[in-house]
Amino acid sequence: MQSAIAHAHETHGHDSHGDHAHHHDVSFIRKYVFSTDHKVIAKQFMLASLFFLFVGGLFALLIRWQLAYPGEAIPLIGNILPDTWVSDGAVTANFYTQLLTLHGTVMIFYVIIPLAVGMFGNFCIPLMIGTDDMALPRLNMYSFWLVPPAGLIMLTGFFFDSGTAAAGWTGYPPLGPSSGAGQTTWLISLFLIGFSSIMGATNYMATILNKRAKGLQMFQMPLTVWGLFITAILITLGTPVLAAAISMQLADQYLHTSFFMPDNLLVGAPDNSLVTGAFIQNGNQLLEHKQLLGGGGQPILWQHLFWFYSHPAVYIMILPGMGIVSDVLSTFARKPLYGYKAMIFAIMGIAFLGFIVWGHHMFQSGMNPLLGTTFMLSTIVIAVPSAIKIFNWLGTIWRGNIRFTAANMNALAFIATFIIGGLSGVFMASAPVDIYIHDTYFIVAHIHYVLFGGALFAIFSGIYYWFPKMYGKMLNESLGRKHFYWSFVFFNLTFYPMHLLGVGGHMRRIYNPYIYEFLQQYQPMNQFITIAAIILGFSQFILIFNILWSLKYGKPAPRNPWQANSLEWAAPAHPGHGNFDSDIRVYRGPYEFSHPDRESDFYPQWEEPQGVESHSHEAKEHSHSA
């Protein structure tokens, strides 16, 4: 697997220019499919991820339908789905666990990470640091082209007789390794997408460190770039641990090893003849021939390794969003970002702490309670940098001159939802409170407030903000606002009540909650959530329609439609290969809005200072002392 890296070296340094020389007569395939242009790759990431967003959203709606109307046929599609998935048009218990597994996996690994990191990382980094392309363009291309096969492998599981992975997106052993071929495809797929992430992240870091435009200091980079830079560090250091854990689980499945299996486990023989669903029918007979495993392993070991990656992964998903929101807010409030350096240190703090708090996912897992105390304290500390960020965003719009574009509305929605998501996180950080709400819908509400309300609104904001630079066309603002209003309202109606369900004790990943007497009263509430979720799902078509409509009929975008300061707006309206049509030199930080000495309310990074040199110098000093 290193050969990809090794080959990519060929593209570095001096001969990377070779590509540019003949970019006029490249074939269609080289230009749009196997392109090394970071902007094309960003669009490819966007396209792939929007497809997976659709798929993952569909899974979510099927799950919701089952929770609202258990046993009732799914409307429209219920009767055309194959028998392995549904019975009498209603989702089976086995298919339900597959759906919840794949919903989580697809949304995290194939939607949020590729959108936040793959798409914005690729599009924004070279443009915002004022360079022509990534440090290693060909490596960048490989990193995208691992995604489609990985995604296909992930989805093929559905067509196996035994179904796809059904051990939750966390794939906890022994359930994971003891299930069938679906788990294998799941593991392989994660391994590939993880490798793609590492290749991408390596490239981002090399690009940011090495290819900044003349005069651009690290502490003059926009927050988006900072967010992506720290994210790349998290990916490089976290993902390989997951890769190691995945290899071990694969070995447990196919080499019959027992890294995660204790002695005398009465669980399915690792020859894949057994899937969890088939257990019941074979009953006792199976129990007997199951004692095949070598033993000596520990199930909790997987959880440690998994969360050692997956907790930082939460920040992998949210940090780029935080960066995007900072830029969008500052631009549309026409005001410098409040506390630029404090924001960067907060991101660094979150990233560092992110590596030492993973145990808070495991308070009830049976690890040493003493370790629980340690992890609780470190987790609670992580709330501080998050609070700093919120206050700084509020400080940014304070005394601003706020323009309510669709991009800015989504950015404001990000703050609004992140406040709720952050506050609900404090409940779980407190280990004793977590005893009760762990594995309930409270957690589901929290993760969706952070990842849908947080990451996805930030991504929407970024799409509205950078679409003009991506395609050279403006998105339709009024459709954008409609999309925002529908999404925001129904997002809250979908996920806020889940907190209440959680407090009511409603477990997550439950096929039919109404088996339990104490949950029967919550069926009307589940129905309400489902209807809100369906509307939320369908609201996203406004975005899709807007993109398609604007590509054809949208107004041509000017070079700098938002009158923003950062370097990407110095590029032509629809930049080609090589990005810029003039040399870029950077004179100041990215947030010089409403400078008192200037007529216009923005002062681009690339604009040469005129008149008194000392003024801009002073401004720069000022921004640094913050």
Binding site: Q2, S3, I5, A6, H7, H9, E10, H12, G13, S16, H17, A21, H24, T131, D132, A135, L136, L139, I198, A201, T202, N203, M205, A206, L209, N210, K211, R212, A213, K214, T236, L237, G238, T239, P240, V241, L242, A243, A244, A245, S247, M248, A251, L255, H256, T257, S258, F259, G294, G295, G296, G297, Q298, L301, F308, G578, N579, F580, D583, I584
Partner: protein
């Protein structure tokens, strides 16, 4: 550059892109093996007896031989870079060839080691220790192979008319190769040696 712009200037850090990316990738590789070593330590502590007498069954002599081979290959790799930087292509080819040879030697010894294990009915599923042994040495061997592929490419290229004159690329590959050696430096005592032979 087509348009005469100077956007692609000297690397800011003065470290070439590929080499910088390789270091970042190696950081990531350290974390990959961290996962294995961490798991190894945990399961070792809960299965001390088992690990102790299982380790006694490994062939230490072959591992020692392999350690020498890898250290030697690291040296030849370093020397080949040094010679290419000096423009000494003949010696460059000699040392690169030796490095490849060492890689093959390592793999052959590894194969002998594995087949002895199989003959003694020791497989990855025999017990947790051997699971670790096969998985960790297996991944290490995959890394060796992955390093040898571009190395062979460079070696063959060096014999063409144009020759191969990219010292930075060889240096970058060298970083990787030394890292593979480094992993072995830890695998050797951890798997083979530090269990006293009771």
């Amino acid at each position: 550059m087509s348009s005469g712009l100077s956007l692609a200037h000297e690397p800011v850090t003065k470290v070439p892109h590929g080499k910088l990316a390789m270091w970042i990738f190696l950081a990531s590789e350290i974390m990959f093996f961290t996962g294995f070593f961490g798991a190894f330590i945990v399961l070792r502590n809960s299965n001390l007896e088992l690990f102790s007498h299982s380790a006694a069954e490994l062939t230490k002599g072959l591992a020692l031989l392999n350690t020498f081979i890898l250290i030697g290959s690291s040296l030849t790799m370093a020397l080949s870079i040094l010679n290419l930087e000096k423009g000494n292509t003949g010696k460059f080819k000699l040392f690169l060839g030796l490095t490849i040879l060492c890689g093959f030697g390592f793999l052959i010894v590894k194969t002998i080691e594995y087949s002895t294990k199989f003959n003694h009915h020791i497989f990855p599923w025999t017990n947790v220790f051997f699971s670790f042994y096969f998985l960790m040495t297996g991944f290490h061997a995959i890394h060796v192979i992955a390093g040898m592929i571009p190395m062979t490419y460079m070696f063959i290229k060096a014999f063409t008319k144009k020759g191969y004159n990219h010292p930075v690329k060889v240096e970058t590959l060298g970083l990787y190769w030394h890292f593979v050696d480094l992993v072995w430096i830890f695998l050797f005592p951890v798997l083979y040696l530090i269990f006293p032979a009771h």
